[in-house]
Symmetry: C2
Subunit: 330 residues, 2 copies
């Protein structure tokens, strides 16, 4: 077997058709968050240092290029979408009391809970200012709906700790709202100038992609360690969060295994041993396989949506983004 | 002296020209925050029970009526402005760890820190959805700027604890951003359909009114107790927050008085006695008088701005709102 056959799709393959435009998005992002207030400047520079893979701006730019000639407006739109994403991360970390994000300290741990609440609001309102400046009502419509969906997702997340009641249906509603809405929004916003048929197909593509993205995230929490993901492994179990692998595994478990889950869920600070025991049960009873299979089915669904689009390098990059999402390790 | 000469202007006088429209604003508000998710429904019903004086919606409706025939759009605009206000209160209480608001438990104390962060985001994004639905770019422009200003105000608030460095100029910037921006925004948004000359005059009116509003709030913290204001008295000193009375008083204090302030600021949980001592010094050295005088000067400035407007009952109600703000006890 040659190297190329097993190599997963890298982000650079996905970004290839729009890579030349990403620095402009980053520059625009820096410009939009600018402030003349030292504390905000400090938080911003930390946030921009911890900046991630620009996956959502990539989708905006690819959607833009997939429906016609690349537009100038896609740059500020991509920056606004990433800004909403950053705002959400800052509030999520504050809500979860997370200490690490992408291997770096979170705003709440480095500054304070107060600063993270305010800073999330700051970034979000800056994104809105930027969308207003762009002056088209459609992206404003999409992004205000998306941010609202994400708050409902965060509320649903609070209930994902009741492991006896949280079903796969609840999980689907949660990941649609929390993760898939913004990824779908990025695709829709990128295609804001396209005919509704293409825009809607891209929206559906983004929703399936976003759900697969979150399922893979939740899988990685079971399978990868800190050195790879930049956050503690087994964190969801440690925080008593129900995700798909455990939801799927529970009915297949022995009584003794289920009791171990109950004990873990009732222990405020579960030990490494407890976590390892439940991870082993979830693996043995096919929870990981089940989640991988769901991600695969969502991938196929996302791929089908792309058939609506004309054949372009941007469409092929969107197709590659599916493999990237499903095969990634972090 | 007869009763009428000393009676302060009541809110019902201010609201008289638009009182018939306020129930529609409240109904619209309930409609806009609606959710099919139980936790959100529960938080909403608590929030709507604790709902305040509808002062900002009143300003929207008065500004609307002061520049021409009352418009239909003023109702949803007023609801959106109140919603942004509610969102801000929820996050402010979370940032300050406040337990009481208008004599009722705050969202963070009744539910949790998590719920209050998410719920603030929920309300804010609902307001944005509503502004997008209204479909005019100008209110979106004003409200996204205002919400951003308020976050900068909250950041400035975090620095208001350094009592040796926090000047009256810092205080002015703080209250402009934190409080006056939304009150000015309410006036501007209400007049969104008016000629710029009137809209700008109403914006400046709102800024002066809003600054006076915050100064009076900060004064009440020195002069009124829980039974009147619905929150603990002396709270700002207890939380080591610098406000105008103390800023103005400090240079007039004796060395011993200043040392008492230093001790209070260095005590994590100051005693009632310590607080009473500093309140007495601030009173003796004219800090309260100074703040009252600033509020008065801002009132005159607000009144002058109203001269731009045609003589209408709405304009007279706006004039009455100045007295209401400056004379209120809670």
């Amino acid at each position: 077997m040659t190297q190329s056959q097993v190599a997963p799709v890298t982000l650079s393959v996905v970004q290839a058709p729009i890579a030349a435009r990403l620095p402009a998005v980053q520059a625009h992002l820096r410009h939009v968050v600018e402030a003349d207030f030292k504390l905000i400047v400090d938080v911003n520079s930390h946030l921009l240092r911890m900046q991630g893979k620009m996956f959502r701006p990539t989708l905006v730019l690819l959607a833009d290029a997939a429906v016609g000639e690349p537009t100038e407006r896609a740059i500020p739109l991509a920056a606004a979408v990433e800004l909403v994403h950053l705002a959400t991360l800052v509030h999520d970390d504050s809500v979860d009391h997370s200490v690490l994000r992408r291997g770096m300290p979170t705003i709440n741990s480095l500054f304070s809970h107060q600063v993270s609440v305010i800073m999330g609001d700051y970034l979000f309102s800056r994104a809105m200012i930027e969308l207003v400046r762009i002056g088209d009502m459609h992206p404003l419509h999409v992004m205000s709906r998306v941010t609202n969906d994400m708050t409902v997702g965060e509320m649903r997340q609070l209930l994902a700790h009741d492991y006896l009641k949280f079903t796969e249906e609840d999980y689907d509603l949660l990941i649609k709202a929390k993760t898939a809405s913004l990824i779908a929004g990025a695709c829709e916003v990128g295609a804001y100038h396209a005919e509704p048929r293409l825009r809607d197909a891209l929206g559906r593509f983004g929703e399936a992609l976003g759900m697969a993205f979150q399922i893979v995230d939740d899988l990685l929490d079971y399978t990868e360690d800190t050195s790879v993901t930049g956050k503690p492994s087994g964190l969801d179990l440690r925080e008593h969060k129900m995700t798909l692998p455990l939801i799927a595994a529970l009915p297949e478990m022995s009584e003794a295994e289920r009791q171990a889950v109950t004990r873990l869920m009732q222990t405020p600070e579960p030990s490494e041993g407890q976590i390892a025991e439940v991870v082993a049960s979830v693996t043995r009873t096919g929870g990981l396989e089940y989640a991988r299979d769901r991600a695969q089915r969502l991938s196929l669904q996302a791929e089908r949506e792309l058939e609506e689009l004309p054949a372009t390098p941007a469409r092929e990059a969107l197709r590659a983004s599916i493999s990237y999402v499903v095969e990634r390790r972090r």
